[in-house]
């Protein structure tokens, strides 16, 4: 049991260009709305060019010691890509969770068999979310990141049962960040957040079972 449970350390990952930083941006804004301290690392330069991207996101009711999450200390891996979700498992606490998008991003020749990846994720009790499809169904084809944030939001509960980051704060962050792009974008994102949350609540198996391919 942690001495300071009112905190959450999240490893954000994916492939450069997938919008990993936008995950960080919305989580960060929502955490600020909740009045939490935030430390959020970003990746710039060479790694943005289609390479594996790793960012650290930390939120806490108390002061946060640094920008990096220790290995064995992360509460969650939130990944935009299934293979990338497996790259950082040693960052997780024993009770840490993986939430990842199901759709693979194949920009390398030696990409492994998808079945093996999904099996490994299932063995790790990962929440595997068909985010691209859910985003499309929600009328937000560009809101894959929002689906993933929605899915992650079902895992923000503290041992006390309280959610560190409420759905309301995420919706408020969406409003603040995307209002300049128009009401249609805000509404689409709202739907995407909800779709992600529902899928994750249904459990990994359920969301996998819904796949018809």
């Amino acid at each position: 049991m942690s001495q300071n449970p009112e905190k959450m350390d999240i490893i954000l990952c994916g492939v450069g260009g997938q919008g990993v930083l936008s995950l960080a941006a919305i989580l960060s804004r929502a955490a600020q709305i909740e009045g939490l301290h935030v430390r959020q690392s970003e990746v710039h330069g060479m790694a943005q060019r289609g390479g594996a991207v790793l960012a650290h996101f930390r939120m806490s009711a108390e002061t946060i010691p640094g920008d990096l999450i220790p290995r064995g200390g992360a509460d969650m891996i939130l990944s935009m890509e299934p293979l990338e979700a497996l790259r950082y498992t040693d960052y997780l606490k024993p009770e840490g969770v993986i939430v990842t998008s199901r759709e693979s991003f194949k920009n390398i020749t030696q990409y492994p068999e998808e079945e093996g990846i999904l099996k490994a994720l299932a063995d790790l009790d990962a929440k595997v979310v068909p985010a691209k499809e859910l985003a499309r169904k929600a009328g937000a084809p560009r809101g894959v990141n929002m689906v993933m944030v929605g899915a992650a939001s079902t895992q923000f509960f503290l041992p006390s049962g309280k959610s560190l980051l409420s759905g309301d704060s995420l919706q408020a962050a969406n409003q603040v960040l995307f209002a300049p792009k128009g009401e249609a974008v805000v509404t689409a994102n709202q739907q995407a957040l909800l779709a992600g949350a529902q899928a994750a609540d249904g459990g990994a198996e359920a969301s996998l079972g819904d796949q018809d391919d």
């Binding site: 970003e42 060019r49 289609g50 010691p65 920008d67 990096l68 064995g72 497996l86 040693d90 997780l92």
Partner: protein, 542 residues
């Protein structure tokens, strides 16, 4: 008072604005780029401060010296290896009689996330004998940048603010304070402080050495370094952001050992007497510093013999393997260095996990040019392709795998010349438009003066792509004129389109020029896809 979520880089920029700068100069380079980007954005909104990208770090530094000579406060930004380019100006500027605050923000990149080496800029500050401040977090990046300007004017020297990738590129909340007004324009009244003729320079150098204790005193008065006293024979010294990693592990350290004496260094030159006092009761000290061993080396150099004999103190750090000799610090290797066992977490995944290195964007013009070079080179039994720093370095990876050398900004030109003159030819240098303007031009002047048989391919994508699409200093339309002006024969200067459909034409021309026994230059032109996308997006929004 205002509160903002800022990157470490942006906190430096805001600190400089609130510290009253009139101007700022720099050259883009990860992880320093966002300092100037922030300032340029501010300039676009507020009209000030004056903020400009420059051709290279040396010109940036010299332009800043001009601003300081005018009595104004000025910020210079670059990455660690950029300081090598600016080193001539930098080292000499330490001897000047600075009146208008001159602060250089240098971002180091240990772990080489986006760099060619992991040199530690604190060594440079030490060699120049100027103060260096090393913030621990975003708030300190703001505060210490402001302090750096005050110190620069108080001590009449340039002051370095040393940043690290992890601070430069992480956001946290920063509280800002009231803005100080700019300095009025006031030319330095004594020109002897600005002319480094040997007789004057000797005087300035002596003065700089004499002022070292004054610097230490000023840093002590500013209380930048912090000491947490405690009883006990095991102590910890951390520099800048390494303090974060200590803090991450401190509860576990204290569970084992009780409260530990801790010295957090954020300013150099360090106070040797204070260090001696800190170390005197200890038998073991772990030195945590990101980058190269700087404090540790100093301790082992001038303290160990005396103190180690007297007290038997053991100094642990990067030099004895307590911490890895290369790469970044992080909460994990610091944890082990503090004598703790690794945190029990989930196991690493042991299945198939191929690396996913960065790569050229699909449809990138560089790819088309590399295909041409690859096929042309294959027509010769032997050839050499020297390349340079930028996105096109990614062409080194398969399936392209064209470059055979990548060393430093501009090196492709001189290396192709030297190789050709040593008999390794045909020699083809490959350089981006921005890198060519940065430091490729002088070596092309050399090649023309010698009539060296070599071909230079300039990849003109009309942007500084790798660092996020800053504008190049000279538009594409004028690039060929510069090359021609250097003296490259017009018959051997070609401007081609970097596109798949031009492949055969381009290859024929390159083959022909690779056989030519003199200097030839081929400029392959097509705008960077990212820059094009951004431009269209902005055009569409307005």
């Amino acid at each position: 008072m205002n509160e903002m979520m800022l990157l470490g880089d942006e906190a430096v920029a805001q600190g400089a604005i609130d510290g009253g700068i009139t101007s700022a100069y720099g050259y883009p380079g990860t992880p320093s780029t966002e300092i100037m980007e922030y300032l340029i954005q501010q300039r676009e909104v507020q009209g000030k401060p004056l903020a400009h990208w420059c051709s290279n770090e040396k010109t940036a530094y010299e332009e800043a010296l001009g601003a300081s000579l005018s009595g104004r406060r000025v910020l210079i930004t670059m990455k660690h290896v950029g300081l090598n380019v600016a080193a001539d100006a930098f080292m000499n500027s330490a001897l000047l009689d600075i009146k208008g605050g001159l602060v250089l923000a240098i971002a180091d990149d240990p772990g080489m996330h986006s760099s060619q080496n992991e040199q530690d800029s604190r060594h440079y500050a030490d060699m120049a004998r100027i103060p260096c401040l090393e913030p621990e977090n975003q708030q300190e990046a703001y505060e210490l940048t402001r302090l750096a300007f005050d110190l620069s004017e108080k001590l009449h020297v340039p002051v370095m603010v040393r940043l690290l990738t992890r601070l430069s590129h992480a956001r946290a909340s920063v509280k800002t304070r009231e803005k100080r007004s700019e300095n009025p324009m006031k030319k330095a009244d004594d020109r002897t402080g600005w002319m480094l003729l040997p007789a004057l320079a000797r005087r300035r150098w002596d003065s700089l050495i004499e002022r070292q204790p004054v610097m230490v005193q000023a840093l002590n008065e500013a209380a930048v370094n912090r000491l947490s006293s405690a009883k006990g024979a095991f102590g910890v010294i951390a520099a800048g952001i390494a303090g974060n990693y200590y803090e991450e592990n401190r509860p576990d350290v204290e569970n084992q050992r009780g409260k530990v004496p801790f010295l957090h260094v954020r300013a150099y030159p360090v106070d040797q007497e204070a260090l001696e006092r800190f170390l005197a009761p200890l038998t073991e000290v772990v030195v945590l510093e990101d980058g190269q061993p700087h404090i540790e080396k100093m301790l082992k150099g001038w303290l160990s013999r005396r103190l180690q004999e007297k007290t038997g103190i053991t100094i642990k750090g990067r030099m004895d393997g307590t911490l890895p000799a290369s790469g970044e610090l992080n909460p994990d290797n610091v944890r082990l260095a503090l004598g703790l066992s690794a945190r029990a977490g989930r196991e690493a995944y042991h299945g198939e996990l191929p690396p996913r290195p960065p790569q050229l964007c699909r449809g990138c013009p560089h790819e088309d040019t590399y295909q041409v070079i690859k096929e042309a080179a294959a027509a010769f039994g032997q050839s050499v392709i020297t390349s340079d720093i930028g996105c096109y370095a990614l062409g080194a990876l398969p399936p392209l795998a064209v470059p055979e050398s990548i060393v430093c900004m501009g090196a492709s030109v001189g290396m192709a010349k030297g190789a050709a003159e040593a008999g390794l030819k045909p020699a083809v240098g490959v350089i981006g438009d921005s890198t060519f303007l940065h430091s490729g031009i002088p070596a092309l002047v050399d090649a023309v003066s010698c009539g060296t048989p070599m071909t230079l391919v300039i990849l003109d994508n009309a942007t500084v792509a790798m660092t996020g699409g800053q504008p190049t200093m000279v538009p594409s339309s004028r690039l060929a004129k510069i090359v021609e002006g250097i003296g490259v024969e017009p018959d051997h200067l070609h401007v081609l389109e970097a596109h798949r459909r031009e492949h055969e034409t381009n290859k024929t021309i390159l083959l022909q020029e690779m056989k030519y026994e003199g200097v030839s230059v081929i400029i392959t032109v097509r705008e960077c896809l990212e820059t094009l996308r951004k431009r269209k997006k902005m055009g569409g929004a307005s």
